[in-house]
């Protein structure tokens, strides 16, 4: 892996961290945060491999003890709590979004991007997060689904759209996923 890819990975890990400083809305065991916007951006700007690694790197920074989660939490504790499943699902979500984005790269637009973000950033995250929440917090399925997924969906749709709109602009002015031939080796 080139140093440049490493720098992009580090950059998006930092972006997810900075988005954690925006105020989170607490609606039960799992807070609404802007950090999943960062997860979606990592996938849709960097692609599958680098997006996955960027979010994984972010989790490593958290695990090392830096207070980078939206709540100001850090260390290993969040990986054991009720919302651990969501954290673990993030790199996977970025990878799925990145994979879908790469597949649609030459005809990428906000609608396709949003579709990728919804599949990777909403479906994948809840598919992992909700069962973990149910088990760790000992909730019945209905409550887990309601407090662990349904309340977030409106916000998530907004984030999926926002990430696609941003990625679309970035794709046109600074494409990272597939550089145009003229700049293959340098920028």
């Amino acid at each position: 892996m080139k140093t440049r890819d490493l720098a992009y990975i580090a950059l998006f890990a930092a972006i997810v961290a900075v988005l954690g400083t925006l105020p989170a809305i607490n609606v039960g065991p799992v807070p609404i945060t802007a950090q999943t916007l960062g997860v979606m951006l990592a996938g849709s700007v960097l692609g599958a491999r680098r997006g996955f690694l960027a979010v994984l790197l972010f989790l490593v920074l958290v695990a090392v003890g830096l207070p980078l989660l939206a709540s100001g939490a850090g260390g290993l504790a969040p990986f054991a709590g009720a919302s651990a499943g969501y954290l673990f699902s993030w790199p996977l979500a970025a990878a799925v979004i990145g994979w879908l984005t790469e597949r649609t790269w030459d005809r990428y637009n906000v609608a396709l991007g949003m579709l990728a973000n919804v599949l990777g950033g909403i479906v994948v995250i809840y598919a992992v997060g909700v069962p973990v929440l149910k088990v760790v917090a000992g909730l019945p399925w209905e409550t887990a689904l309601w407090s662990g997924a349904a309340v977030f969906v409106p916000g998530d749709l907004v984030k999926a759209f926002a990430a696609a709109a941003i990625a679309d602009v970035v794709r046109r002015s600074y494409p990272v996923i597939e550089r145009p031939r003229r700049a293959v080796d340098t920028r």
Binding site: L57, L76, I166
Partner: protein, 219 residues
Amino acid sequence: MTLALYVPRSSVVHRMHAGVKLLGLAVLAVLLFALPTLTAAGAALAGVLAVGLLLARLPVAVLARQARAVRWWLLALLVVHALTTDVRTGAHVSLRLLTLVLAAAVVTATTRVNAMVAVVEWLCAPLRLVGVRPARVGLAITMALRFIPVLIERADRIRAAQAARGGSPRGLRALRTTIAPLLVQVLQMAHDVSEALDARGADDVPPPRRRRSPTLETP
């Protein structure tokens, strides 16, 4: 961003191996969840404060800043639990979170980032088998930590530049006029940083042993 930065002092806590401190942090977290009582959380908080303020001689402000960063979150936990379960649980859960945040702050304030990175690199050593070079992981961590304050500063700068021209875009317009340009700017910056690192030999494969065999030099 209230990233607890390193506070140079000469203390036992500072000199302690970073791996030991991180292990201690992990053990503390496990214990706090294994012993879910208000007394345990209170005692742990007292312990963390003693280590941070007395042993490590950190300024109160360093810890206060961390506590301030999570104050709304603590309050929310307290309120939610008061409404759904009871105040005692709320107090316990928020005290536990505060303890962990402060413990993390003590570790980060007494440990150089590079020492922390070295621990992660050490943990990554087995990944060599699948072709991951631990030093590259360390470099990625160092860069990410470097980029966090830069991102905040660039965001402020873009916002100020737009305010100077009488704009303060919100909502959808902000995506195109603030966030996307910011992203392009920082991608370029990341590229520049990687180029400067390469110029200092970042992509050199370090010598296998202390002395490099010159015949292995060229690809």
